[in-house]
């Protein structure tokens, strides 16, 4: 049974189409794995009955040779996607018991293409975090054990609150952990400052944040509306391409969604990268950079060069302003988006004598400390007297950041190669220091991409000296996800398929 969860999404798809395997068998195998892996805390809501019903319907269609591109394939869904009548809380207490009466466009497209829903995946509360530690449901354990830990130590830690185990990254920590632990074939995730790419790098999986506007945000719990974007986390670059094709597409219900056809992204996997020009941005070489990360970056450059790409040095002078500018823009937009959580129409309500009391008590009780921090920063930078100095200034810097990329692309660069994270995964509780900024520094390589609205892909690029996964990031031109898939495949193949950990938690 567990063998079936070792198939990639592509392999499972082919086996189902050839009727070597049924969706019910495949789904059942994943449900068993989920039960055995429950202590990892990757899922916050499991939907086994629905999954099996969907699997049976898929098997009927497959028998008639009427299967869609994702027919019968069991997936996990990040908790911020509205799934009709199913738990949707963005892992926040303030959305307690919320069950949407509507479906997000991205998930509706997955079901349209025949996929099976296993359940909702854990995440940082309202997508604010880089370790999945801010979730109302508690942290997620990565299936990768800390260096030199035995399976017994791992199991003991799972029983004792998961302290010391590794974070899977965030905010899509549940998605990354579930994919790496084989508790689903692939997962939906979302990315505002790196929340697909950083967890993918931490868990040895592949993830892509497509160009802003490539996927519809209708039905996604909003964090920062000019930065949020949907995308998949999967075990391989090919699997991520298959997922993105179903997730992407124009939607009239999202006025920031771009109207352009969705290419067959899978066809780009395996395409030659000869004569592509790859930019290596010098400002990503940080002072005091982890030497292993720097070495891996150089290795990635060699892999692409060996595949026939031309490597050029580029300069993106405003890179170092991206992280502070992000921590003005994103909280500002969040303070606006989270104003709706007021105890009136859905979710938590605290008793109060008057309406202001209702708002203040509900929000104080309902938001976790990180969310409260960001809403307050956002409120401050948008308030009278500070709006120009902070928010408008940050938006001008955003224009400069985007301009840097546009200049490089206009000079003939097809894509850029950068590190994905400043380090491998750290331990749960390790960064619980007093300084919130320390956690924010995890996003240093990823936020630029959201600020510029560009596509960014992370491919698994091998293991650190301590045996932990490391990823490399590729940044592309707007709506040129195909180039990223072609390049990502080169990296993944050159690094050798990451062998995911055996289930020590069972």
């Amino acid at each position: 049974m567990t063998d079936l969860t070792c198939l990639t999404l592509a392999e499972a798809r082919d086996a189902l189409t050839a009727r070597k395997l049924s969706s019910v068998e495949l789904t059942q195998a994943h449900l068993v794995a989920m039960e055995r892996g429950r202590a990892l805390n990757a899922y916050v809501a499991e939907t086994p009955d629905r999954a099996l019903a969907m699997a049976r319907a898929s098997d009927a269609r497959l028998t008639q040779r009427q299967g869609g591109p994702l027919e019968g394939l069991p997936l996990g869904i990040k908790d911020l996607y509205a799934t009709k009548d199913v738990h949707t809380q963005a892992c926040s207490h303030i959305l307690d018991h919320f069950r949407p009466p509507y479906e997000s466009t991205v998930t509706a497209q997955l079901w349209r293409d025949g996929a099976v829903m296993l359940g909702k995946l854990n995440m940082d509360e309202f997508a604010m975090g880089s370790s999945n530690e801010t979730s109302h449901y508690g942290p997620v354990a990565s299936p990768w054990l800390p260096p030199n830990w035995s399976a017994e130590q791992g199991r003991a830690a799972l029983k004792g609150g998961r302290r010391g185990l590794l974070v899977p990254g965030g905010s899509s920590g549940g998605s990354a952990s579930a994919v790496a632990a084989r508790l689903c074939l692939a997962a939906t995730a979302s990315d505002t400052g790196g929340s697909i790419r950083q967890p993918a790098a931490f868990t040895g999986t592949a993830g892509i944040k497509p160009t802003y506007g490539r996927c519809s945000r209708y039905g996604m719990v909003a964090f920062a509306s000019s930065l949020d974007q949907a995308g998949p986390i999967a075990r391989t670059v090919r699997d991520a391409a298959i997922m993105l094709r179903s997730m992407a597409g124009y939607d009239a219900k999202d006025s920031t969604c771009f109207d352009a056809p969705v290419p067959d992204y899978e066809a780009a996997v395996g395409r030659s990268v000869k004569s592509m020009t790859i930019g290596v941005p010098r400002e990503y070489r940080l002072e005091g950079m982890n030497p292993e990360i720097e070495k891996l970056w150089g290795q990635g450059v060699e892999w692409l060069r060996n595949a026939g790409a031309r490597i050029v040095d580029v300069s993106l002078p405003n890179t170092r302003h991206a992280l502070p500018a992000y921590y003005i823009v994103a909280p500002a937009e969040a303070s606006s988006n989270l104003a709706r959580y007021d105890g009136v129409r859905y979710g938590l309500r605290e008793p109060a004598a008057d309406i202001t009391g209702l708002y203040e008590k509900t929000r104080a009780a309902g938001f976790g400390p990180e969310v409260r921090r960001r809403v307050m920063i956002g409120t401050y930078v948008l308030s009278a007297g500070y709006y120009d100095a902070y928010y408008v200034r940050a938006q001008k810097i955003r224009t400069l950041i985007k301009r840097d990329f546009e200049t490089a692309f206009a000079n003939g660069v097809d894509a850029m190669l950068t590190p994905a994270t400043p380090s491998a995964a750290f331990g749960i509780g390790e960064k619980a220091s007093a300084d919130p900024v320390e956690m924010y520094l995890n996003d240093v390589f990823t936020v630029t991409v959201n600020m510029a609205g560009l596509p960014g892909l992370v491919a698994p690029a091998g293991l650190s000296a301590e045996g932990l996964p490391l990823g490399l990031q590729l940044i592309g031109r707007p709506f040129d996800e195909e180039t990223l898939f072609s390049l990502g495949e080169i990296i993944e193949q050159a690094a050798g398929r990451t062998r995911l950990p055996d289930p020590w938690w069972v």
Partner: protein, 95 residues
């Protein structure tokens, strides 16, 4: 720039988040840590630069002004903590 305790209380009131007296100093520290981090942006030359309004170049799409949805009152109220006769019920609003 940094905030004092009065500013923290004012921000909390604007954000409609109740903050106890005991929490104010800690919040002040957190907010000031973040403000210190973003302070560096004050040195950037943004002369003549337009603030970014749209991440990708596009016009806001318009549609005909006709009703295309509605009559879903029960769905809209389905998650309400308290509702009655088709209304959301809240504590008193007017003094």
């Amino acid at each position: 720039m940094s905030v004092d305790q009065a500013a923290v209380r004012r921000i909390a009131r604007l954000a409609r988040i109740a903050v106890s007296d005991g929490e104010v100093p800690h919040l002040q520290g957190e907010i000031n840590a973040i403000l210190a981090f973003v302070e560096q942006l004050g040195d950037v030359d943004v002369e003549g630069v337009e603030p970014m309004t749209s991440v990708i170049p596009m016009r806001l799409p318009l549609r005909a002004d006709v009703v295309t949805d509605g009559e879903i009152e029960s769905l809209v109220l389905a998650n309400a903590p308290m509702s009655e006769d088709g209304f959301f019920v809240v504590p008193k609003v007017i003094e």
